[in-house]
């Protein structure tokens, strides 16, 4: 009682804010139970009969599921391999540029795509890759190649997603690394120059180790959205021809769950995905803490 009186105002502020988290972040967890039920809209979440793990058994025997899992994992793995290091490389390159004006100009242009929505970005990609009006077909033509319908070829889907994801957030992602690089003590660089270290050696021995803690944090944070990342991008780029390589768990759940009303089955897939994602981020955090002997990590 005493705490309530003492912190009355603070408590009411916090309760107001927490209500939003409780309803919109914890609320869906209640709906998750339909993954273990045979959900019918007329019966509601509570009234629908329990079916135990039936949907999960169905899932693991369905070949669709393995295709989705493979696409989701592969796409995210490629993004981690290529799209995660790209901003680091850009920051390292920008750091080598002597002219402040050029540096500024590159930064300002490279931030721009971050502020453009995926609707626009994807629309432009589809347009520029079109075999009839596209610019890429023109460039390929200069080298004697034939125009290809890139968006309609399943083998091009993953590269297109990875490259467009890189282009969109390359500049924006580099801000944090660039700031970390400018924070390096200049005396370190000077003494390395006196010792005869060249540009490349300084980059490997000084710059990269100095921004390692930042890289570690960003790595864990990027795993936080692992498996659900890039839904906005993929749903705009995907078409039935590229389902085989591009259909990921989220796009499937949206299509089959919300458009074909298979709520329980797709809720089970969604739950599986969320659990795998949770496991990944927890183990990544553990790994980073082990490697840095408890100095890095999110918590």
């Amino acid at each position: 009682m005493k705490t309530i009186r003492r912190h009355g105002e603070l408590l009411s502020l916090f309760l107001f804010a927490f209500l939003f988290f409780f309803i919109f972040k914890y609320g869906p967890l209640y709906g998750v139970i339909i993954a273990f039920k045979d959900f019918r809209v007329v019966d509601g979440i509570m009234g629908s009969p329990w079916v135990g793990l039936q949907h999960f058994q169905e899932l693991f025997t369905n070949s669709d599921f393995y295709r989705l899992l493979k696409n989701t994992l592969l796409l995210n793995l490629y993004l981690l391999l290529f799209a995660f290091p790209a901003p680091i490389i850009l920051a390292l390159l920008l750091n080598e540029v002597r002219s402040r004006y050029f540096q500024r100009f590159i930064q300002m242009t490279m931030y721009l795509p971050h502020f453009v929505s995926w609707v626009i970005m994807s629309g432009l990609i589809i347009y520029f890759l079109s075999p009839t009006t596209g610019v890429l077909a023109e460039i390929v033509g200069w080298f004697g190649g034939d125009p290809v319908f890139y968006m309609g070829k399943k083998e091009y889907f993953r590269p297109i997603v990875v490259i467009s994801a890189i282009l969109k957030d390359l500049g924006w992602g580099s801000i944090i690394y660039f700031a970390a690089l400018t924070g390096i003590n200049p005396e370190l660089q000077e003494s390395a120059i006196i010792d005869g270290a060249n540009r490349w050696q300084r980059m490997i021995k000084i710059n990269i180790p100095s921004i390692m803690p930042t890289i570690a944090i960003m790595f864990i944070l990027s795993l936080g959205g692992f498996l659900s990342a890039n839904f906005e991008q993929i749903i705009n780029l995907l078409n039935p021809v590229t389902y085989e390589t591009g259909d990921v768990i989220d796009t499937y759940v949206y299509r089959v769950g919300l458009q074909q009303f298979q709520y329980s089955y797709t809720a089970a897939i969604g739950l599986f995905k969320s659990l795998v994602g949770l496991l990944l981020i927890l183990s990544a955090n553990l790994l980073v803490r082990k490697l840095s002997r408890g100095e890095s990590g999110l918590w």
Binding site: T3, L10, F21, Y127, T133, E232, V253, Y254, L271
Partner: protein, 289 residues
Amino acid sequence: MKAKRWQDRIAPGMIYFVLASLALIVVYPFIHVIAVSFSGRGEALRSGFHFIPRDFEWTAYRELLNYPFIWSGYSNTLFRMVVGTVLTLLVTVCAAYPLSRPDFPIKRFLILLLLFTMIFDGGIVPSYLLMKELHLLNSLWVYVLPTAANAFQVLVMLSFFRSIPDALIEAARIDGARDIRILFRIVLPLSIPPLVTIGLWSMVHHINAFMDNLLYVTDQSKFVLQQVIRQILIENKIDPFTTATNLVPPAPESLKMASVIVCTLPVLVVYPFLLKYFEKGTMIGSVKG
């Protein structure tokens, strides 16, 4: 010695070349889009590079601006930008300030509850059912209420509040001020930079968001601008413009490119302003929560 000279000249040259090409890849599409959106039919359908509009025409823009859903889209997007941003800031401050006070009860547990929402989500279907139960489907409120709860932003705000000297707050308390008064009179005036940053994050999110529209809203008069443009640009629904009463419809390409401009113009207008605050803001965000 000779090898070093060579390396010192080639390496910077290559760095400049790579960076300049990247900038070109980003800038060229904008030039192309503007050129095609203003070009006449024949020119717009021509393949290859476009630098300046030829056979200048703006039928594409006229058609778009006569399309009623563009305007409802603009007004719905404006609604979610204004209401959504204000609500986000309110919720963020109300969650972060109590947690920043050292004597607030069960602080650690509450922060853990927030952290958990960052790494686990119920999924698309359960969220959809929740919105349905709350009667938020096909309502403009579905755009602004769920996004107000953002744990990352609370952590950013929290780490800023913690950096405000305790002595200031204690002094006010001794003078008899209560918590809410302290928050509005002392803490918030000192917190303009993170408030601006989070406000801008939220605004950009609301300008560009379309997923909630796709998932929860089917009534076209409640579509946000992005979703209206998405129908034209991605789903190729251009018959409202070609089967209308006009005798010379614009080329679909011009129409699409004009829709890109109509859609990105709001962001481009505030871009210089964004740049000024955003870079600093990302650094505030880098403070460990």
